[in-house]
Amino acid sequence: MKTFPKGGVHPPESKLTAGCPTEVLPLPKSVVIPVSQHIGAPANVIVSKGESVRTGQAIAEGKGFVSAFIHSSVSGKVSKIDTIIDTTGYRQTAVFIDVEGDEWIESIDRSEEIVTGISLSQEEIVKKCSASGIVGMGGATFPSHVKLTVPAGKKCDVLIINGVECEPYLTSDHRLMLERGEEVLIGTTILMKALNVTRALVGIESNKKDAIEHMTRLASAFQGITVCPLKVKYPQGAEKQLIRALIKREVPSGKLPLDVNSVVHNVGTAFAVYEAVQKNKPLFERIVTVTGKSLARPGNYLVRTGTPVSRLIEAAGGLPEDTGKILSGGPMMGKALANTEVPVVKGTSGIVVLPKSDSSRSKAGPCIRCARCVSVCPIGLEPYLLMTLSEKGLFEKAEQERITDCMECGSCSFECPASRPLLDYIRLGKSTVIRMARERVTKK
């Protein structure tokens, strides 16, 4: 079975919710929709306090090319525009909406019928994605229309659909493939048309046997789409690792997948593209896995963006007494939340509740130079060295050691027998080096 060759770890999968069909979460009383749910410039708010909005109406517009539209996920009245602590851990501007009924804008096709024929042209598809606020649904939330725009001089010959879901606990993509497989594949066909490619590969890890079977059966009806089972290994869902695993091309350091003639999109993104293009429905809801060994009813929920995390945890049986940590995203790369009022955003793939016993770090010991961090690093870096360099403030040296290639997958910290905070320091070094490099450019 295919996989990427270098490094990687295999954390306990803990996919508790793989067999739980997606449930629709009832509408909350109010939602808080941050205007920065994507990588790039925050969107400009275009509604004002007291204004009535309908479900699917744009409430903030993208500012510049790398930005995304934000749509209201509910109908109701804008109660205020204020700041809220979101998943980034900082205060961001957000639109607060009090829910009144659930009135959708007319243009959205709410029928259950699956639309197969693609009527839009290449440019229209990209435009539609941009106007519908589609971002990468795997968690990085990079605006999709940017990835669909192939710059002059570059070409793309294969589209890769990421159904790997290598993070432990999370099952939202898994359920999506099982329940909305056909839509995902139509979305894939739309993306292929937008990129003008004839070949698409869907990578799925082999711990999702049912999804692989289901998707393979469906894909036989689609031209150019192949489903590829992959060996279970973290971080296979990382763009560069997935490209290496599927088509044996290595994206050079500091370059993009387009430099090896490929583009990667998440299955969630493919589904969102389907809904935007075929159903005229902007991105305002997503499947969120709410899970944790201590939760009474872990499950997968279809959630409107802006719903507070507390509502999700309530639906899953309430917050257990001994909760020590709540994560947005998976346990390897997710962010720990400071409180449960944080709203669900486009990139929230899961909420993981960890009990107290699993939520504290062990005390770090001295590095015994066992070289495990080096052997698990999927990029071939030397985490022990990078940590020491950034701890000592030797950022120039860290730059030479290519600290910026680190994708913060956390394999090194996961594996370290001395529980050393390798990634914490590497992340610090990486951000410092990037800042230094930017300063160098502006000085010149």
């Binding site: 700041t83 851990g89 900082y90 992340r427 610090l428």
Partner: protein
């Protein structure tokens, strides 16, 4: 036997001679001329290599002093006026008087005013915590308390207080080298003019949020209510970014703003106690002896 000894002595001596000649030529070829005054000036500098002057170390600063036309903009904050005067004497230049400064922490958010609502479980390093989230409290501008400034201080002048979780500066030891100012990821340390008896009046807050959220996060936050601005007769107070700022070069220590401040975010340090007058003492002023 004796012939072996002679051969040994001769070969080794020749080897030594050859090496000496090579060394001589290399040394003369790579000789670098240095102004002898650099050594002299360096000798009077404090040799702390703290970087407070803006140069990498004392030697670089000495070189800069020797090269410089005037001492304008060049100052050794550690050595202060005596050292600069001595350097000026050596180089035959005029010393420029620079007023001594001292580091001040612009935050007073001890747990009593700013309750903790999460527990940070990462590396105790302010930069890492700062890049992760707003911190253990609701204030995303205040002191995180993991002691980056304490580690940066080479003069033992700054220590974390375990009760308040805030750094405390020992004015007598502080040389105003600025290492802590650079180390703080939230820019909470400022070099302010050193006054008589180490007296200080300053706004101990950097929270740029509007009044409401700022006050909710911390009881002693500056809410930019303008009261101090209105009461100040010396134009020492400015308001920007939802924050009041007192210019230490204009402040005359009249202490009017301190009593005016509704949240107690303006601190007065090292003043004699006021005459008994109700509510004159703001609650946050008692942090320093």
């Amino acid at each position: 036997m004796s012939i072996t000894i002679i051969i040994t002595i001769v070969t080794l001596s020749l080897l030594a001679l050859l090496s000496a000649v090579i060394l001589y030529f290399i040394a003369s070829k790579f000789k670098v001329y240095e102004d002898p005054r650099i050594d002299e000036v360096q000798a009077v500098l404090p040799a702390a290599n703290c970087g407070g002057c803006g140069f990498a170390g004392c030697r670089n600063f000495a070189e800069a002093l020797v090269k410089a036309e005037t001492f304008e903009g060049l100052n050794c904050p550690v050595g202060g006026a005596p050292v600069m005067a001595e350097a000026a004497r050596i180089l035959g230049k005029e010393a420029v008087a620079v007023e001594p400064t001292v580091a001040v922490l612009l935050c007073n958010g001890s747990p009593e005013f700013r309750p903790h609502n999460t527990k940070y479980d990462g590396v105790p390093d302010c930069r890492i915590a700062h890049s992760l989230y707003l911190g253990e409290t609701d204030c995303s501008y205040g002191c995180l308390g993991y002691g980056d400034c304490e580690r940066a201080c080479t003069f033992d002048a700054l220590h974390m207080n375990p009760v308040t979780g805030l750094p405390e500066i020992i004015d007598d030891k502080c040389t105003a080298c600025g290492a802590c100012v650079k180390a703080c990821p939230r820019h909470l340390l400022e070099l302010r003019k050193k006054a008589k008896k180490d007296r200080k009046i300053y706004v101990a807050c950097q929270n740029c949020d509007k009044g409401g959220p700022a006050r909710r996060a911390c009881k002693v936050a500056c809410i930019a209510c303008n009261k101090c601005f209105n009461v100040c007769k010396f134009e020492a107070i400015t308001i920007a970014n939802n924050l009041a700022y007192i210019d230490s070069y204009k402040c005359t220590f009249c202490r009017k703003c301190v009593t005016e401040c509704p949240t107690g975010s303006i601190l007065e340090i090292n003043f004699p106690p006021r005459k008994a007058k109700t509510e004159a003492e703001p609650e946050g002023a008692a942090v320093k002896p």
